[in-house]
Symmetry: C2
Subunit: 418 residues, 2 copies
Amino acid sequence: MDIKISKVRLLDGRTVDIAIEGDRISDLCGDVPGNADIEIDGSKFIAMPGLVNCHTHAAMSLFRGYGDDMPLDKWLQERIWPAEAKLTADDIYWGAKFACLEMIMSGTTTFSDMYFHSERTAQAASDAGMRALINEGYIDLGDPDKREVGKKETLESLEKIKAIGDPQVQPALGPHAPYTVSKEGWEFMCGLAKEQDLLVHFHLGETAQNIEDVKGQSGMKPVEFLNSVGVFEDRCTAAHGVHFDDEEIKLLAQKGVNIIHNPESNMKLGVGSKLRYRELKAAGVNICLGTDGSASNNGLDMFTSMKFAALLSKMDGYPEAMPALEAVELATVNGAKALGIDAGVLEIGKLADIILLDKASLCFHPGFDHISDVVYAADGSCVDTVIIGGKIVMQGRHVDWAEECISKMTECSQKFRS
Amino acid sequence: MDIKISKVRLLDGRTVDIAIEGDRISDLCGDVPGNADIEIDGSKFIAMPGLVNCHTHAAMSLFRGYGDDMPLDKWLQERIWPAEAKLTADDIYWGAKFACLEMIMSGTTTFSDMYFHSERTAQAASDAGMRALINEGYIDLGDPDKREVGKKETLESLEKIKAIGDPQVQPALGPHAPYTVSKEGWEFMCGLAKEQDLLVHFHLGETAQNIEDVKGQSGMKPVEFLNSVGVFEDRCTAAHGVHFDDEEIKLLAQKGVNIIHNPESNMKLGVGSKLRYRELKAAGVNICLGTDGSASNNGLDMFTSMKFAALLSKMDGYPEAMPALEAVELATVNGAKALGIDAGVLEIGKLADIILLDKASLCFHPGFDHISDVVYAADGSCVDTVIIGGKIVMQGRHVDWAEECISKMTECSQKFRS
């Protein structure tokens, strides 16, 4: 046995021992016999599955607080795009590595990322010991030249990420959105997805304008358009998803499309609507959770995102809409399912992606219901220990490489100071 | 000079020395000469005014996670009221003291509380070194017997809180709401408020049902009813305030009523609407911020509340609605103004209610805009040091009496375990 966590509390109130061998949970019961190479006294902790952040642009941690309180267009055109034009591959490595640090320190063990120079984000995730699906954002705007460049970048990204050779860090596909990628672009992605069994990760229905743009381009609603290009036959995750009508929700459910809820980003950018959680749930859609990038949230704490998701679902008069347990499921098992990862629950045989929460944190007092406390009272600072694939990446809130990472990322950000 | 904080960053980006003498800021400039009894190296910190939580039921920390995801009526009738029936004065002391600990650890220096056995909450606030306005919740439901009991409790509360003899902890008045307090009850409160110059703190426009109840009882809308009983002539704070029409907003502005925004509680209880921030602001209403009690939030972190308030104001398509600086103002200077406290800004002569945020926190990187980082990225765990009225109540996140308080509160909560 490699690691044994003794007498740890689970979210459901049980106290158990958890044994880890290699990258999996090898035993979980009231009393696991024998000793391990590493023994952790679990009596001070609550153990839960590591959080799964299904929609990030990790390197955008470089732009936290660089532009806020602006309409989306102005924010992109005046702040983000000019800054992104100055980004080097090295900046992206340190921005993404910093994001990994922030995710680890707030209990996230897996993330699914879209950005450019994606091989550098993949390297950062691997160096940080995280589990990740990384894609190269693809945009062609219907331009054949852009399409050729984008195809090349996507194919190179797949090879470079595979070449890292880390089983925890895998490539995916990132066609940006129905309004920025042509039919031919989608067909290219669908072909690759089938050929290499890849996740397809895109934006869908984020703003009302997006919907109109797609209708203008294709004569179809975005969900109909994506269905027509065949991408719903692949494993796919759609971020934001706030502007769906009933018909679209029905189709998403039929096709098994995973919807990523990004409550804070949607609210902050004022996209004008919110995820139709009750309707999506009733239709049987798998809903998972993401923070979006730190430029539009402005952080990566999935505990805060759970609270935002739950409260947003209730506010219009439905206090029972998303009970705390469902918010935890969005952030764990639903995300793992969407990304095709054998984790998200603490069970024998599952990947050992486990976080230990400090029971001494004020948020766990008086402690009537750990699930409620995790969703409504906790923030990421309650996380003491993070284990990913059976490896301890943080213990006692200490991460070996934190100091260098913070200093390098801050250095990279200097060029954006006006 | 009692305390000198050297070379500390302010939210606006300036670096200054802050001098404290007695309970006030005695100097604040680039270079304060001389030494102090206590010297704090401010180079590691960002200094900002202590946060002002204008609506709490502090002792309800005892009920965090005791009932969630339920409609308001069911929650009150099946969970909260039966539990409250078992509360002793001692429970209230430890529940409130624990709330003080949680508030201090997340940067709140002042709170305004409504509950019963209010003298025990006041004692807890005083023992914790906090600044507070404490009132005894008053409900008569139009019943003359209840009215006599309530009047007696209110008068006793005023005397007992004054008898504590702590200038930082003052009594206020707590007529619960227009639908639970009779015209005679309000007139009693107005008389007392004028006679003793007291703040009047109540709930207003929390649910649509509240509005209908008041119309049924008085033939008036709640704001009209309160205006008719004269309470708007006093200094008053109205919590929640989500169900106002344009006419009511106009009247609230004319009368200088302070409105307390409780974003998380309103969302979690599904009150069915949200604060009309843009309209209230346009009308010139002073808007401040509160967490509500830990039974309906479920925590007291005003950093999280600032994020909820700002994002909630934007979500319907107004990303510029509440810029980060306004969210900070809600939580500081507007709250101080509402409560009649000479604090809420860091200026010479103001009360020394100051919090120091750890610049090393990940949320302050890369650090383009401290105000944005405080609202959108920080949580209470970034607070290192808390000074209230020139006294250090937390330093290095250490609070002397924390351990005993956590243990006593947990003990008090045992009787509610099923």
